[in-house]
Assembly symmetry: C2
């Protein structure tokens, strides 16, 4: 799978990162339409990371395709004609989501260790200079 590039197991992919946030936002009942895009952009602005519409769309699509999330349309309160799209776990979706979250925790921790190692390997002697 993934004809675009063979994975060498470098840092986690943006797609996985976005899917993780989508699952958590669904748990917290706050995944509405594409509000997510604004929410993530706000959260990650201080880090210089700006997820784009197409990445977010593909991540959502993956989760729906895999039966993790389900799109639901609901009438906006007090509005007869306006609908709002939100997401919830279909039957079996919550369990799949929890499995995915457990896998992603391992993956995030792996990435954190790799980055720490790179800081140590490439700048270690700078920091050790401040030690006795």
């Amino acid at each position: 799978m993934g004809d675009k590039r063979t994975s060498s197991g470098f840092l986690l992919k943006q797609r996985a990162f976005l899917k993780l946030y989508m699952i958590t936002m669904t748990e917290q009942d706050r995944l509405y339409g594409l509000k997510l895009l604004d929410a993530l952009r706000d959260e990650f602005r201080p880090f210089g990371y700006k997820p784009n519409h197409s990445e977010v769309y593909k991540a959502l699509h993956d989760l729906i395709e895999d039966g993790v999330l389900q799109q639901v349309k609901r009438k906006k309160e007090g509005m007869k004609l306006q609908e709002v799209v939100y997401y919830r776990f279909p039957d079996g979706g919550y369990e799949k989501a929890q499995l995915y979250k457990r896998q992603l925790k391992v993956e995030l921790e792996r990435c954190e260790s790799m980055i720490k190692k790179a800081i140590r390997d490439n700048y270690g002697y700078v920091e050790s200079a401040t030690n006795p």
Copy 2:
């Protein structure tokens, strides 16, 4: 630049990561031929990261193109006909390398913070349960 994908500023690219290691290995006088590939594979095996030949080649090529590294051929000790390829900083290369390393330190720290944030945002409630 970068017609393959527009950068949304997600985690650092593998290419940059490899270039950083190449610079440090040159500082330590241990960047020989493609030994680097074996060295990096050994170092990152526990992390499930296996850089491939083409990635390493492209990173080296970038550094040479940018005047950071220079390829030198040297006769192997005691061998009349065998040459070994190694890398050193050409004139001005060391300064460029140091600038790159400073930039990459900021970038690695940014990535570390983003990953820590993701762990906190998506698993925080688990860990906080152990706190008073």
